[in-house]
Symmetry: C2
DNA sequence: CGGGATCCCATTTGATACTG
DNA sequence: CAGTATCAAATGGGATCCCG
């Protein structure tokens, strides 16, 4: 079933209510400025704390620390301590995080499409994102 | 191409960098606590200000007002003023907002799946969302 | 009804310094 | 390296009042 009324049957109010709840659940767990970005950064493989911080432009150590704890509690990643010398600590995604693939794939696709759209528009700077501002 | 390393070829760092940027663009525009929820609420058809506020539990008039402006600037909705008496103002989604359908559909699907998952887990209350807390 | 303006508090965040 | 502690600053967001 398509989403909006533009290209499909109009959902009933009851359906919309449930969709709002479902989206609310999802946004509560994976919403926010950083969580999906952390997951995406870890998708290329396990990383250490500072590697993640370098990969994600603009996140502070404290915020990253808190977000990692939250993501671990919710089962999206695990913290692995390697007691070799020197001790190293790595974060890696769990299989459960794979269930987010459709969300993340569609988000990335849309982001790429949107970037093209606004770069070809008359006033890209009016709606540019921080990432785009580095290009424009 | 699948997303994580669990079920597909591992993306290169360069690919991951671009994906992070793309996701960053998307999250900048449609991220935050309310924006997608507003779009979802409007997906069942045009609504007036107070209708939207009632549909989305917990949003204040001031925040809704700000978000609606932002969403209008970014081309996701339009504000229609009907000069009949009494004047009524309606918000409705634009065709461009339809491009978000894959994102929103996958978000909703994941939210429904996640809700089932944590309601059948041993300690649902440990990771419950506000929406779920009304049920548990 | 549909908001704008103002006030004020709580939470978040950044910067810096510090520790095992 | 992998964080934690602390403080200052910014931001968010609710409550309230007001207006067309």
């Amino acid at each position: 079933m398509p989403f909006t009324h533009h290209n499909g049957p109009k959902p009933t109010p009851a359906q919309c209510y449930n969709k709002l709840n479902a989206a609310g659940d999802a946004l509560y767990v994976i919403g926010g400025k950083w969580r999906l970005r952390i997951i995406i950064a870890l998708a290329e493989g396990h990383k250490r704390f500072n590697e993640i911080q370098r990969a994600i432009h603009g996140i502070s150590a404290r915020v990253l620390s808190n977000e990692l704890k939250e993501l671990e509690i919710n089962g999206f990643l695990i913290r692995k301590v390697y007691t070799d010398f020197p001790v190293s600590i790595e974060y890696e995604l769990t299989p459960y995080s794979d269930t987010l693939s459709p969300v993340i794939e569609s988000l990335i696709s849309w982001g790429e499409m949107h970037r093209q759209t606004i770069m070809h528009s008359e006033k890209p700077e009016a709606i540019a994102t921080p990432v785009l501002e580095e290009i424009l």
